[in-house]
Amino acid sequence: MPWVIHIVTVVVVLFVVLNLAAGLIWVERRLLALWQDRYGPNRVGPFGLLQVAADTIKLFFKEDWVPPFADKPVFILAPAIVMLTVLMSFTVIPFAPGIAVSDLNIGLLFVLAMSSLGVYSVVLGGWASDNKYSLLGGLRAAAQMLSYEVFMGLALMGVVIMVGSFSLSAIVEAQQKIWFVIPQFLGFILFLIAGVAETRRLPFDIPEAESELVAGFHSEYSGMKFGMFFIGEYVGVVLISALITLLFFGGWLGPGLPPLLWFIIKTFAFICFFILLRAGLPRPRFDQLMSWGWKIMLPLALANILVTGAVVLWAR
Amino acid sequence: MAKVKVYVDNRPFEVADDQNMLRTCLQLGFDLPYFCWHPALGSVGACRQCAVKQYRDADDKRGRIVMACMTPAAEGLRVSVHDPEVVAFRAGIIEGLMESHPHDCPVCDEGGECHLQDMTVMTGHNYRRYRFNKRTFRNQDLGPLVNHEMNRCIQCYRCVRYYREYAGGNDLEEFVLRNLVYFGRHQDGVLENEFAGNLVEICPTGVFTDKTLKKHYTRKWDLQFSPSVCVHCGVGCNTSPGERYGVLRRVVNRYHGDVNGYFLCDRGRFGYEFVNGDRRVREPLVRRDSPGEKLEPVSKSAALERLRGILDGAKILGIGSPRASLEANFALRAWVGPERFHAGVGDGENWLTGAMLGALRDGKARSPSLHDVELSDAALVLGEDVTQTAPRLALALRQSVRWRGFELADRFKIPRWLDHAVREIAQDSRSPLYIATPNSTKLDDVATETFRAAPGDLARLGFAVAHALDPESPEPPALSDAMRSLAGRIAEALKNAQRPLVVSGPGLCSEGVVQAAVNVAWALCRSGKPAGLSFTTLECNTFGLGLMEARPLSESLSVLKQGLADTVVVLENDLYARAPKEFVDELFAAAKHVIVLDSLLNRTGEKAEVVLPAATFAECEGTLVSSEGRAQRFFQTFVPAGDIQASWRWIRGLMIATGRREAAAWEGIDDVVRTAAETLPALAGAAKAAPEAAFRAAGAKIPREPHRYSGRTAVHANIDVSEPQPPGDRESALAFSMEGFPDQPPSALTPFFWSPGWNSIQAVNKFQEEIAGPLRGGDPGTRLIEPGTNGHKGYWGAAPAAFQPKSDTWQMVPLYHIFGSEELSQIAPAIAELIPKPYVALGEQGAAQLGLKEGDEVEVKVNGWARRVAVRVRADLPSGVAGLPAQLPGMDYVALPAWGSIVKAG
C-alpha cells in the first residue's frame, strides 16, 4: 500500500518541518544572544526550549485583527500563500535515499517555481493591508524577489549542466566524487546570496525593514496570520539551507554516519550561517540591492553558465 | 494730560506725560523690576531697583543711570532698559537687598507668588556671594489675621507707606538704626487698621502673610480660583477665592478699576472661613413629625419626598434675603408669586432701601463708584460709620481728601505720582470731609470737622445743609446757631467743590438721615454740581432684593393669619436677626410648615421642618447688586461635597416637582437671569454682568486652576487610584481644570492674575488697559441704577425736631463693628477672635450720671427686650445717647434706634 507510506511521509515531513521552523525561533534567539554576549531565552523550560511553546500559545491567543480598511479576502489569503508555497517546495526535497514525498525528475524547477509563487504572499499582503508602509513593503518585495529570482535560477544552471538532470536526488548522487561547491563555487556564492534575498532575511529584509517601514508588508498582521508569515520565513530558511546542502554540499552523502543525519548536520550548519549573517551584516539600501542584483549578480550568473557549459562541452 | 514721544531702547512710543517712566515702561510691556513703587502708592525712589539708563539725545552713547520711577515721561526722553550696565546695576541692587534675606522660601507662605522671587529671577541674580552673618529680628504677634516674619524684610518701606499714609493706620512703624530697619508695632498686638490685611499683598516678600491661610497652607499654583464678589458688605469688592481639597483656603483681591482697586478690607479678606465652618448645612435636614424632635440629616431624595408631601396643595409664602443672589431671590419670587414674596429684612431697613433706590433713580445725583469717590474733592458723611459698615468705601473717602494736596502739587509743578513730595507740600491741607455720626469714626483723623449727635440731630444738620444750598429745600425748625454755622460751612465746602459727594446709609436706620442726605445731594445737583450720592448697604445684595419690589416682612404674619398662605419658605436668612423674636416665633407658629434654604444652620433653621443645604458664594454662581447699583457675577470656586447646590436650583427642583413646568426652562443661571430681566425691567442689565456660559475664548473654556496646578493624579488616589473625571461646569464658561484657554480671559471671567515672570499679585499690571486703570476690555459688572433725567423731584418733607436728652432713658443707636456686625464673617474663626463681647456704650456724662465705670454689668431694656451686658464708656457719644453693637453674635434683634433704659445689675 504505497499511498499509506506516502501519506505517512507527507505527515512526517510536515510535522518535522513545521516543528523545526518553530524551534528555529529559539535557536535563532539563543544564537544571536550568544554572539551578543547575552544568554537569550533561558527561562521557560530546560534551556528556555519551551519559549517556542510560550510564543506559539501567545500568538494563538492574540487578537486576530483584520483592519476594517483592509481587503479582507486577500488579507487572509496572503499568509496562507507563503506557507503553502514553502511547504510545497519540501515535497521534492530528498532528505536521504528514498526519504522524500515525491522525488520528481524536475524537482529543482518545481522548487524554483514555488519560490516564485511565494512572492505573491508578500505583495498581496502588503497591498491588502491598505497601509502606506505595507504597500511600500510589498512593492519592495516584488522588485527584490523578481530581481533575485532571475539569477537564483541561473546560478543553479551550472549544477544542472554538470549533472544533466533537474532531479535533486540525481544531483546528490552526482556528487559522490566531489561536492559541487568546488567546481561551482561561483554558483554557490550566487545562490547563497539569492537565497538570503529570497527568504527576505537580514541583510536583505528590505520589505519589512523595521526602522523605515515599521514592519513593512505585515505591519497590519497580528495573531496567527502574523505567525504564518513568521513561520513561513523560518521554513524558507530551512528550505534554502536544505537546497544548498543538496546542490553544493553532497546532500546526505558522508562517511560513517547515517545519510539522514549527514543531511541534518549540513542543513543545520547553513541555518546557523544564515543566523550569523543576520547577526553581523547591516541592511543595504534598496537601490544598492537592486543595482547589485542586476549589474553584478546577473552577469556573473550568466558568465557562470557560459563557462560551465563551455567546460562541460570541452570535457565531452 | 498730553501725549509725548519717548524712546525706550531706541523704539519710539507715544505715552502720557503725567506719568513716571517706571509706570510707562510697565505699561508698554517692559519687564522692569521694582519694589518700593506701587500703582496706588506712587514713587519714592527708595529701593533703587527700577534703574534705567537715560540718554541726552540720540548721539549720547554713555548715558547715566536714573531711577525710572523718579523720572517723568517727557518729550524726546531716551532711556534704555536693556543696557548691560544698567542690567548689572539692577542685579547688584537685588544682591544687596538679598544679603540678609533668610533661606526661607520653602517654608515661606509668599513663595510662589513672591514679588521678590519674581524680581530676583528677572534681574538674573541667582548666586549668593555674601558670606557674612545675616541680621535677624524677632517677630511680633500682630493678631489672628496677619503673620509677621521680619527677617525676610528688604526695607522697601511699602508697608508703612501703605499702612500709615494710604490706610491711615498709626500702629505700624519703622524702627531704624543704621542698616537695622524694623517694621512693626511698638509692642505685640492686633493691627488696629481695618485694612491691615492688604499688607499681605503690599509686602513684596513674606514679611506680612495671611495667617488664616497659614492654618491650611496651599501655594498659589495649587489653588482653584474663580472670579468672585465679596459677600460681607454692600460695596461689592471683587475677590479671588482659592480652594484646594474641598476647603476654601483664602481670598485675595481681584483688581477692579472702578470698585475695589488694589485693596480689600479685612472682613472681606478674612471672612471667607464660614464656608468651611462646622455650622454649614451639608445635607438636607428634616424634622420628624412631632415638633419636639431634632433635625436629622437625610438623603436628598428623602427630603424631596417629604417636601412633595408638604407642598402638595400648599399655599406658599416666600421670604427673600439680602445676602442671597439675585437668581435665588428671583426664583423664590417666581415660585411664590410677587404678592407672596416678602423682603427678608426689617421693615425699617426695607423702607430705607426703597427710599435709597428711589432717590438714586429719580434724582440727578449719581451713585459713584469707589473710584469716583476717590476723585471727589469734598464729602459729607451723614450718619454712617463707613469704616465699619462699608469699609472699602471709607478707604476711598480717605484718598479723596488728598485732592487739596494734589492741587497744591500741581501749582508747584510737582507730579502727582511723586508721593513724598506731594505729601510734603500738602502737609495737613486736605479736601473738605465732614463727618456727622453719633459716634467717633476711624475717618475722623482726616475729617475737616466732625459732628456728634443723635440720629434726629444728624438729620437736622443734613436738612440745614440742604437748605443752605438751596433755600427751596425744607429748613429744620429751631436750628441752633452752632448747627446753622456748621451747616453753612459744609454747604460752602460742597458748593466750592468740583465733584462733591454725600455719603449716607441705612446704618442708623433713620429715615431722616437718609432723607437729609438725599436733599443735600439734590440741592447740589440743582445748583449744577455733579454731586455724587453714595449709600452704603449692609449686605451684599440689599439693592438686588430692593429691586425685586418685595412686600414688607411684617405683612407676612397677617397674610398667614388670614389663611392666604400656610407654608413659609425662608431663603438664606436668619429671621431672628431681622425682626423681634416674638414676631418670628409668632410667624413660625402661624405657619403650618417652615422650609429653610440656607448654607448655615442658624436660629431660623432650627425652627424649620426641612432645611435644604444652599451653596455659599464659593459653591455656586450668582449675581449681586452692590451699593453702587452695579450687578456683578460671582462664579463657583469649587464643587462641594454632598447635596449642596445653589438655592435657585433647589427652588427649581421643587417647582418642577409641584408641577410648575416653567421652571424646567431654567437650565442654567443665564436662563434665570434672562427670565428675571424679562419679568423685572430694573434687572435688565444683570444679564450683561458677565459673559454667558456658552462663551468660549478661542473655542476653549477658561481654566480655574493655574497651569502649574499639581497633584491631579494623587489627590484622590487614597480613595481610588483611578482618577475621576473632573467635574463639568454647565453654569459658566469656566472649567474646573488647569486646561483651557491659556491667555487672558475677559475681565469678568479672570479667576486669578498670573503672567509669565509675574507670579505675585502684581501680575495685575499685565491685565490692565493702563496701570491702575480699567482692566482689559473694561471692568466687569453693569450698573443697574442710573439717575433719572425726569427733572427735579421735590425735596423730602420736614426735618425731625431737635433731640432732647432724657434723664432716665437713653436713645439707643446701633454701633457697627467691621468684625461682628455681619452674619457670615462672624463665624470665621479668625474674625471671631476680634469680635467684641456684647456691651452698651455710654458717654462719659451718662456714665457719671448712672455712677458706672468701664466694665460694670448693667441691664439694658429696649421695648421689652432685655439683656445684661458690660458698660463701655466712650467719650465720643453725645449726651442722652447710648450705643448697642449691631448684629453681634449672641445678641437678639432689637429695633434701633429706640429709647431704652440702663440699670446697674446686681
Partner: protein, 171 residues
Amino acid sequence: MISVFRTLWHILLHMFRKRVTIQYPEEKPYLAPRYRGRIILARDPDGGERCVACYLCAVACPVDCIALQATEDDTGRRYPEFFRINFSRCIFCGYCEEACPTYAIQLTPDFEICEHHRQNLVYEKEDLMISGQGKYPGYSFWRVAGVKIGGKDKGEAEREDPPTDLHSLMP
C-alpha cells in the same frame, strides 16, 4: 568583501566571551546610589522630618502624582500633614528630588515595588518615611533657615547675628 567575513568572524568569536546579562532574580545587579527608583522621605540629622511641605516636588512632578498638605507644629516647624505619591503614575524622572530644597525627597536604588493591585501603589507618608538621612547626610534645612522653630531661636541659625534689640532702634 573581506570586511564582511572579518565581521562575521569577530561576531562568531563572541560566543566565547563572558556574558554581560545579569540573571536578575537570582543575581542582584549593582545600582548606583543615584539610581532613580522608589521615592523616600528622609530625616534630618537630629531625626526630625526633613520635608517642610513646600510643595515644590508636587509642582515639579510632570505627571502630578504627588499630593501633600502642609501643617505646622506648635513651635512653627512646618511638615506635611499627609504626603502621598501615586507610584502607579510616577515615571521616576527625579524632578521631585531636584526640586526639593531640603534633600527630603530622594529616589533610591530600589525598584522592586510591583503590585498586583494598582491601589497598593499609592504610598502615604508612613510608607515613604525612612529613619535615616538617605543620600545627603549632615544637611539640615532648619539650621540655615531664618524662621524660628522649637530648639532654634531667631539668630541661632548658621551665619546669623543675634536678633536685633528693638529698643536700640529709633522709631
